[in-house]
């Protein structure tokens, strides 16, 4: 049977999720292999190098660099407190007197001989990395990373904004294809990850954020609404560090699209459960998609999804280009030879049956497996 690799989003009600938590530089690991952690447990710590403050001494005192070296009261490697004396200038029997004091506490890293400029390194700043998902520590890379594993439901979105958030899943009382209005946002949604509906209005996003919701998982969004929410027009799908009060993940795309039945079916079973979500999206080679991870009880039935995403006869696919955008179909065959399509391009195609029974031919590049 013909088959091909194709992109797809994972929609799994019971899988084994592993998330690697990493430090950007060498640091310390706070947990051990086998330890159970919750999503807000700090698992890694590191000290980020402090900022370097540049002091233009000669310019400050109005002397040349050579003369400045004679006025210095400090030396390289010395610790210095904010306000401490760096250099002192006296002339005309003390009638002219000016001093240069340190603008910051830290260590004097260098005194440049040519310019007389001084670099003061502020003390290191601590940083911490949380577990993100509740689960068991299954691997530790000393000083670098921790791997946390949990049986969970996993729903990958197609696009998101905002970083990692943790909350309680709450289904909106709304039809899958209904646009989310402010009236659909419950007033008591603080700490919740809201789920359902489509194409929220900007007012509904703002209301949800104002009520303290942690996130929203919905089917689709209007790009002007996204622009209003972010405060700018997004050019590249490289997201996750936006300064937004609530993470938003969409499962289908831009426009007026309802949530797929498969996603809804999985999400409905999870209402009221604690979940972790991330809006991080990177649409390039090694793509990162936003996600919702809902840990479940360990009963030994969860298995990591090892199967590559393979397109074959019988596969269920989502069509991702006009004129069939958003529809679902079942693959009937995968012809091996490229065929000419409506644009005149010659490309590899597949034949599939839509829900209404119509058989269509579409480029293989224009389908997504529904996992």
């Amino acid at each position: 049977m013909a088959q091909a690799f194709t992109p797809g989003l994972q929609i799994l009600s019971n899988t084994l999720v592993r998330r690697i938590r990493e430090l950007p530089l060498t640091g310390e690991v706070d947990v051990k292999v086998g330890e159970m952690v919750s999503s807000d447990t700090i698992v890694l710590r590191a000290a980020l190098p402090g900022d370097l403050v540049l002091v233009r001494g000669p310019e400050e005192l109005g002397v040349d660099a050579e003369e400045f070296q004679q006025l210095l009261k400090v030396e390289e490697g010395q610790q210095i407190a904010e306000g401490a004396l760096i250099a002192e200038f006296r002339a005309f029997f003390g009638l002219l007197h000016s001093v240069l004091r340190s603008p910051a506490s830290g260590t004097i890293e260098f005194i440049a001989p040519r310019t007389g400029h001084i670099g003061i390194r502020r003390p290191p700043r601590p940083m911490a990395v949380k577990a993100y998902v509740s689960g068991k520590v299954v691997a530790v890379d000393k000083g670098r990373s921790v791997t946390v594993e949990t049986p969970a439901a996993l729903i990958q979105g197609i696009f998101g904004v905002g970083g990692e958030r943790v909350g309680t899943l709450r289904m909106l009382r709304i039809e899958p294809d209904a646009e989310i209005s402010p009236d659909d946002i419950p007033t008591d949604c603080s700490g919740c990850i809201l789920v359902g509906g489509a194409r929220p209005t900007i007012e509904s996003l703002r209301k949800a954020a104002a009520q303290g919701a942690k996130g929203l998982v919905t089917a689709s969004i209007d790009d002007q609404c996204l622009k209003s929410y972010l405060g700018y027009d997004l050019g590249i799908a490289l997201t996750g560090d936006e300064d937004v009060p609530m993470t938003v993940v969409i499962t289908e795309g831009f426009g007026r699209l309802p949530m797929s039945p498969r996603v809804l079916e999985v999400l409905r079973q999870l209402d009221g459960r604690a979940a972790s979500m991330s809006g991080v999206t990177q649409v390039r080679a090694g793509a990162v998609r936003p996600e919702l991870v809902v840990p479940r009880e360990a009963d030994g039935s969860s298995r990591a999804s090892q199967e590559p995403l393979v397109l074959k006869e019988g596969s269920r696919v989502r069509l991702i280009r006009f004129p069939y955008f958003g529809l679902f179909a079942d693959v009937l065959s995968l012809p091996s030879k490229p065929e000419r399509i409506a644009t005149g391009a010659v490309t590899r195609v597949l034949r599939a049956r839509l829900a209404d029974g119509k058989v269509i031919t579409v480029p293989r590049a224009n389908v997504e497996l529904v996992g």
Binding site: L52, D222, D223, G235, T343
Partner: protein, 608 residues
């Protein structure tokens, strides 16, 4: 493996791109050097495979299957996986070469003292070496020290190029720039245990102190000044140092590249550097003024070779890092604006619908147009990406401030004329389009129309496309055998579509210019009209453009005829009587009618 051109008969070349690794086979045949077979496979530099050679081997396998030539050893042993050919035997290869832009390509930050002098030269050196310039720091860039330090820290470039000052000039400001770099102590993109490579190519008198300062946090290489004198630019040594660091600090630490590098006796080149080399070589060989645009999914590279006022051929490259047809498609929307994209459409599409379609392409970048409407939308985006990237290119492809002027420094700073772009559309001879949207356009003339509209070509210009994105492969091959690479370039790579005749004029003349080919009148270019003139393909002859009004310029000056020896392309001549700059009617219906008329005049599918 052989590296002597006389010993080469079969050469396998890959370009490891961000998403696809393309392998081509070049063979010496009875008719000369030809590109014979092509294979491709997804690039595997990212997780979960994280080894670029896996994708390369898959691409070799496809070439092997298609060609019937045994290329790969049955068992992997030794320093490379290839069966070596001896002479012109039907098995094996003589040499393997590669270019690479995987992992986002080579990303650099450059710095200099004056934005329009040393900093600009630094940009040109980095771009010419095939890099994406993440940011350009200059003492006069209007930023505060702390802003510059934050920016340097945030960027995480692969390499930093620091320039500034003329040789023998003042040193203090250059050293201050080095202090800023020290203050930021940037970390390289790959491997946090590595020291960031910094190339110093500024005032030679400051080199020792800059080296001493920066060696605390970086691996410093000191090379000759990119701007030893105000009016002289020497980019070669800096470019060479960039290439050295690219191999030792970027390539060798990318997944699998250590192995890939060991397969070839010739260093891997950054893809854009290889494309630039083959374009530059073609310009040198033919004496033509050339503009080449490679419009990819994420970025658009523009290369040009134009003569400066002294008659010297000047090569320039720019990369518009966020103008592209898939990953960056929504950024074209943001930068160009919805109205500028919609103005190229000849059918009804609401702004909302257009935005949704482009946003959905952004999040599903590997999908392809399946309907004519989607195809036309992508072609509209292409026109805008070309327009914006050319505008960017013009701003950097300028004459050197102060060059060849025997005057005082104050005069040099006031020389506005030297800031004029070298890119003169009336003097442009050849445009080469590359990238899927142009190379694989279902109708070649639609690729020509995209370039004609996007670049607003003027005068007499030949339009061509790179048949299957072969220029990177030929660029690296040219480093060994320039003649063979040029032969393949002209025979298999460059597909000449047509010659465009675009008079520019003042007033409202009706008949603009008469066009003769081989002594015969083939037509008259009429104002506001676009049409195609059928000419037998690949016929050599003299084209003559005879302005019919004194206000009409066809490239030789107002009212002056132009003659040129040419070889016709596949689609003959394309007359464009729309004046420059292009006028777009305000009313949508009028605009759509005009677009439809243009497409129909060229025989393009317009859906009507």
């Amino acid at each position: 493996m052989h590296t002597n051109p006389q010993d080469l008969h079969v050469v396998l070349v890959t370009d490891c791109g961000s998403t696809t690794t393309k392998a081509l086979l070049f063979e010496r045949t009875a008719a000369g050097w030809r590109q014979t077979y092509r294979g491709e496979a997804p690039t595997t530099v990212e997780e979960p495979v994280a080894d670029v050679t896996v994708g390369a081997l898959n691409a070799f396998q496809e070439v092997q299957e298609l060609s019937g030539r045994t290329i790969l050893k049955s068992q992997s042993n030794g320093s490379h996986p290839f069966v070596l050919a001896h002479g012109a035997k039907p098995h094996g290869i003589n040499l393997y070469l590669s270019t690479s832009s995987a992992g986002g390509g080579l990303q650099m930050m450059v710095g200099g003292l004056v934005s329009q002098m040393s900093a600009e030269s630094a940009q040109r050196a980095a771009l010419g070496a095939g890099a994406i310039v993440l940011d350009t720091l200059a003492a006069d860039d209007g930023r505060e020290d702390h802003e510059r330090v934050e920016r340097i820290r945030h960027l995480r470039p692969d390499i930093v190029l620091l320039t500034g000052g003329v040789d023998g000039g003042a040193k203090e400001q250059v050293i201050e720039l080095a202090e800023l770099l020290l203050a930021a102590s940037p970390r390289p993109r790959f491997g946090d245990t590595l020291r960031l490579p910094v190339i110093y190519a500024g005032n030679r008198d400051a080199a020792e102190e800059v080296n001493a300062l920066l060696s605390r946090v970086a691996e410093v290489s000191v090379v000759p000044n990119v701007r030893p004198e105000i009016g002289r630019e020497e980019l070669g040594p800096a470019r060479h140092a960039i290439h050295e660091f690219f191999l030792s600090h970027v390539m060798s630490h990318s997944p699998g590249y250590g192995k890939l590098l060991s397969w070839s006796p010739v260093p891997v080149m950054p893809t854009p550097a290889a494309v630039g080399d083959i374009v530059h070589a073609h310009a040198k060989r033919t004496g033509l003024n050339i503009l080449c645009a490679d419009i990819g999914g994420a970025t658009t590279d523009v290369f040009s070779v134009f003569r400066d006022p002294q008659g010297e051929q000047i090569f320039n490259r720019t990369v518009s890092a966020n103008l592209g047809m898939s990953y960056s498609v929504a950024n074209v929307l943001v930068e160009a604006g919805i109205d500028n994209i919609a103005r190229w459409l000849h059918f009804e599409c609401t702004p909302q619908e257009l935005r949704d379609r482009l946003r959905n392409k952004m999040i599903r970048p590997t999908s392809i147009p399946q309907s004519l409407e989607d195809l036309w939308i992508e072609q509209a985006v292409c026109r805008e990406a070309l327009r914006l990237s050319l505008s960017h290119h013009r701003s950097l492809a300028v004459g050197l401030s102060g060059v060849q002027r025997q005057r005082g420094i104050a005069d040099i700073f006031s020389q506005q004329e030297n800031r004029e772009s070298l890119v003169d559309m009336l003097k442009l001879d050849l445009v080469i389009g590359s990238g899927g949207v142009l190379s694989h356009a279902p109708e070649r003339l639609s690729a020509a129309l995209m370039m004609l509209d996007g670049f607003e070509l003027a005068g007499l210009t030949e339009l061509a496309v790179d048949s299957i994105f072969m220029m990177p492969h030929l660029g690296v091959f040219a480093s060994l055998d320039a003649d063979a690479a040029q032969e393949i370039f002209e025979h298999d790579c460059l597909i000449s579509i047509c010659h465009t005749v675009v008079p520019v004029y003042r007033g409202t003349p009706r008949e603009l210019c008469e066009v003769r080919f081989d002594g015969h009148v083939v037509g008259v270019v009429m104002a506001d009209e676009v049409r195609r003139i059928d000419i037998p393909p690949y016929r050599k002859g003299e084209i003559e453009l005879l302005p019919l009004q004194r206000t009409v310029d066809v490239g030789a000056g107002p009212g002056t005829p132009l003659k040129k020896e040419i070889r016709s392309g596949q689609e003959g001549f394309l007359f464009d009587g729309r004046n420059r700059p292009l006028y777009h009617p305000v009313e949508r219906a009028h605009r759509m009618t005009r677009q439809t008329a243009t497409m129909q005049a060229l025989g393009l599918h317009s859906g009507e």
